[in-house]
Symmetry: C2
Subunit: 445 residues, 2 copies
């Protein structure tokens, strides 16, 4: 008696990636790698499993609760990484002398969080981070912005805005007003500005911090600044005066703005937005968020910032750094909504029909020749009926099929059929199929 079947299924919160989803996903990761590398960021990888104390070290209660943690066969307390930042800190502390500073790395890898699955949230997802460790130079702040800019362009976006702020501006201002200890409450109130309006925020700040109307006005004034880069910088000048820290932050914003001017980056694509306050506790200088003009509601698709000390839990060495992370899942969802992703289920463009199995070696040979010209070509494996092979080609998303039988080979020709409009042409083939390759390449453009 046969065994009963096991029902094929995946765990809740986990995903299979079928070709139509995996092709653009892989392409996006390759684009990220290419851009990161072009700036000299080097790839690293770290283990999926780490000693639990390493991962918990700086974890909040929330990450601890979400971590996949278990005892391995050797009785060790282990966990699956829930981000790429904690492993980076451990990695840099462990290998600092071998790595040398500054150290620029990218890391594209999977992380796991056992949170309750919900729309667009998964228990397994990829992160795509790049960081520069071991320098406080503004050159790295500038570069981080340029990498994000080049990345968005390389992915295919023109209509996006990278919003930059500097934590030192607000911190300086709070210090100046004697409100430093209330920074969390101030930021919480500020966050409500778009929803509840100026007056209510004003009241809340006064309630919670006891700040004067004048102090509160200054902070609200900061959050309401807008305009192009130069205009924002001029508006910030009087507000920052009197605080060394705020001035320092302002100068860094100026340097980034000047570099953006010099690089010909339009005001719209790189904005100074003093209302963003990402990562309150962690970031200490420049911060970045990136929004899509055509889908702002999806939130930031690439975020990051500068931090003072990456690895303090694992080493006494002070390791400042700066970095950002591309939100792969969010970006792919956005690209799908914006119809930027083709629906093909094959990475190949051309399929050679197996019209007559007698000629299998000829079909294989044509495909091999075309590959030497950089074309991606599949040979259909079975000599099935033509309409079945066409149906397969169509379903998969091939753009052209090559058909040849005895007649064609006798006259050294093949038929090329374009699947979008059904048009068909005879093309001569000689030993290296160069003419065919050129004809296909120009049609595929």
């Amino acid at each position: 008696m046969p065994e009963p079947l096991i029902k094929p299924r995946t765990l809740s919160g986990f995903r299979d990636f079928l070709p139509a989803a995996m092709i653009p996903r892989e392409q996006l990761m390759e684009t990220a790698r290419k851009v990161y590398r072009s700036y000299g960021f080097a790839p690293i990888d770290t283990p999926t499993l780490e000693h639990a104390d390493i991962l918990c070290g700086k974890g909040s209660d929330e990450t601890d609760r979400q971590m996949y943690r278990f005892e391995d066969n050797g009785g060790r307390d282990v966990g699956m990484r829930f981000d790429l930042t904690v492993p980076l800190a451990r990695f840099v502390a462990q290998h600092a002398s071998e790595l040398g500073m500054p150290f620029k790395r990218y890391h594209i890898a999977t992380v796991w969080r056992g949170e309750r699955p919900q729309a667009g949230r998964y228990r397994e997802f990829a992160q795509c981070d790049f960081d520069t460790i071991g320098t406080t130079s503004i050159a790295s702040d500038i570069e981080t912005g340029l990498v994000v800019f080049d990345l968005m362009k390389a992915i295919g976006f023109d209509r996006f805005s990278i919003r930059i702020n500097n934590r030192k501006v607000l911190n300086g201002l709070l210090n100046k007003s004697g409100l430093a200890e209330h920074s969390v409450a101030v930021l919480r109130a500020l966050d409500k500005l778009p929803k509840i309006g100026r007056e209510k925020v004003h009241a809340e700040m006064n309630d919670v911090t006891g700040a004067s109307a004048n102090q509160i006005d200054q902070i609200l004034q900061l959050a309401e600044i807008s305009g192009d880069r130069d205009s924002v910088l001029s508006q910030l000048e009087p507000i920052c005066s009197g605080s060394e820290l705020a001035q320092e932050g302002l100068q860094q914003l100026r340097d980034i703005s000047s570099a953006a001017d010099s690089a010909g980056i339009e005001d719209h694509n790189l904005q100074i937005d003093v209302s963003i306050a990402r990562g309150l506790d962690y970031y200490t200088g420049t911060i970045y968020e990136t929004f899509l003009d055509d889908l702002p509601s999806i939130g930031s698709v690439c975020s990051g910032g500068r931090y003072d000390n990456l690895a303090q839990l694992y080493t006494k060495q002070q390791l400042p750094g700066i970095g950002a992370s591309l939100g792969l899942d969010r970006l792919l969802a956005a690209m799908q909504t914006l119809e930027m992703i083709p629906t093909t289920k094959t990475p190949a463009d051309v399929m050679v029909v197996q019209f007559d199995s007698t000629y299998l070696n000829r079909y294989i040979s044509i495909a091999r020749s075309l590959r030497t010209f950089g074309l991606k070509v599949e040979v259909f494996p079975d000599a099935k009926k033509l309409n079945q092979q066409f149906k397969y080609a169509d379903r998969r998303g091939f753009r052209a099929v090559i058909i040849a039988g005895a007649d064609e080979f006798e006259s050294n020709q093949v038929q090329v059929k374009w699947l979008n409009d059904g048009s068909q042409t005879s093309v001569p083939i000689d030993d290296d199929a160069k003419e065919l390759a050129e004809m296909l390449a120009s049609g595929l453009k």
Copy 2:
């Protein structure tokens, strides 16, 4: 009082990949992807964690013991995948109608086995598989061999041999001799041929199976066949006569050999080797192993074969297929031994020295211009002493540095210094740095 530091360390059997190791690793994966795609194999991914019953379904006691298995926060019995074949079987069974047949996929992903770590064996490693599901056509057997051939060439090997056999030949022979039920014992004895010699194997086979001297001679004769493809095929002919199954296997070997001839693949690179018997229980037709001429001791670096039914545990649908797997870790170790891997720690070739921070935007601008020509260029983040910057460039493995200060910019020039011989040249730069890009590109060739 500061908290005590957590000692940065990795779990036994797990590895950090520093840039010098990760750069060639990533490159190898990209080469594999490129070759797989050029044949129309599409990428997929499956979850790291699966329901334990899915993974255990076909597992042997050994894989069960090695599997990382635990109860998740929701009380589910889960395991980390220990190969990519079981997830593929589950995946294809689950999505068969959406995928359509034939289905060609590649999957490059990490797997985990809690085995005792030893030299060259890890608890976490990558697999790099490609398979064609849903066809028994010989075209797929041929293609699998061609993919392996193109892959080895694309990685940079010329001196390798893909060894092909067909399980039907030996099975047919055993059937004919009435020894089918002893196939495991026969193969076990055959395996010892190189070590203990013909006579002792003969004696063992007689002991265990009770086969006649004549029957044993035929089997040993099979294992001792060697020569070029045509010669092996001729030698097989008389041995296979009288068994339909063996004849069928022989015909498949002939078809592959003929396709290899037609594709101009030398006898040495693709051999018929009837002594290989990989995957006794699983494979049912063509089988593949791949050895490096210069490092045969490392074993097969790319292996696979044909199977009759991939997903019988999860579906009633019969899904035959064929595939192979590139041994990434083994291949990288071999390439290291054979000195095929550069020791650079950066993916970039060129570093722009930050000679004078006043010109930071100029340095950035030069780097950006060079990137538009496809060059990978890092700008050193700090205006440190020149010798420190040179030392950094040297340690990382940059090939050239660009140096420019007030004098150079005044005369629209930069200095290019090649780090291998210390030679230095002045190169004019205009707005798009085209001349500089061409000069660097030709020097980097």
